[in-house]
């Protein structure tokens, strides 16, 4: 397995040929200024808590927008209420 660290508690793991990434906190992390968001192409993004979804959470790269977000129920519901275009796979 290949693991890439993106700072704080964000990392990506290539598992079975697919990437899964933990809670993104990149563009607002001053220690991760060299990370190019456009090069992160995750199939799944694991969001561990609501606190991670703050104004400090980085926008995801265009490549990652096709990813499936796996999150606690209330976090998922919050996203669905905020954006009608969101759907569960």
């Amino acid at each position: 397995m290949k693991l890439t660290y993106y700072g704080h508690a964000c990392f990506a793991v290539s598992a079975g040929g697919r990437l899964c990434s933990s809670t993104p906190f990149i563009s607002q992390n001053p220690l991760a200024g060299k990370i190019d968001l456009e090069k992160i192409d995750a199939d799944f993004i694991l969001v561990s808590m609501a606190t991670a979804i703050t104004s400090r959470t980085s926008p995801l790269s265009r490549n990652a927008l096709r990813a499936t977000v796996i999150a606690p129920f209330e976090v998922g519901e919050w996203f669905e209420k905020k954006e009608s275009g969101t759907s569960r796979p």
Binding site: M1, K2, L3, T4, Y5, Y6, G7, H8, A9, C10, F11, V13, S14, A15, G16, G17, R18, C20, S22, T23, F25, N29, L31, A32, K34, I35, D43, F44, L46, S48, M49, A50, T51, I53, T54, S55, P59, L60, L65, R66, T68, V69, I70, A71, P72, F73, E74, V75, G76, E77, W78, F79, E80, K82, E83, G85, T86, S87, R88, P89
Partner: protein, 149 residues
């Protein structure tokens, strides 16, 4: 903010449940931490994840304190490594991370949630010594670095 993110697909799950994925399976585990949405609404309980894949399994605890529930994870799943917070203050620190690694049955710890803010800046040498004393390998890849694990 959400439109800015453009998230389209969400699996809204809960603790103890698992989702089948293209690479295997993801199960939500308990975590002890705060969790509220940026608009103040209820954010439910935070979680960790057990990821199972054809290449191996791993545990990402999320932001959490040490909890004896972690023993159940090790009893159920053979893990290759665990990604655990080591920064202390907001989460467990390295001493408890070593105990967590014992509970889930791994020798390799990928340290996360450290150095980002002043309260969680760590002494790397001391952390490595603590891990080694507990029989664990503490992996601290540089930001942007990839490692085989």
């Amino acid at each position: 903010m959400v439109r800015e993110k453009g998230i389209r697909n969400i699996q809204a799950m809960n603790h103890g449940g698992a989702a089948r994925t293209s690479f295997g399976r993801v199960k939500l585990t308990a975590a002890i931490h705060s969790s509220s949405m940026p608009d103040g609404s209820y954010g439910g309980n935070p979680c960790g994840f057990v990821v199972e894949s054809s290449e191996g399994n791993f545990y990402y605890s999320g932001d959490t304190a040490l909890t004896s529930d972690m023993r159940l994870i090790g009893e159920q799943t053979q893990l290759r490594f665990a990604a655990l917070p080591i920064g202390d203050f907001y989460t467990m620190g390295i001493t408890d991370a070593v105990r967590a690694a014992d509970l889930v049955g791994v020798n390799k710890i990928v340290g996360v949630h450290y150095d980002t803010f002043p309260p969680i800046q760590i002494d790397r040498d001391a952390a490595q010594k603590t891990a080694a004393a507990g029989g664990k390998e503490l992996l601290l890849p540089a930001i942007g670095e990839s490692i085989e694990i």
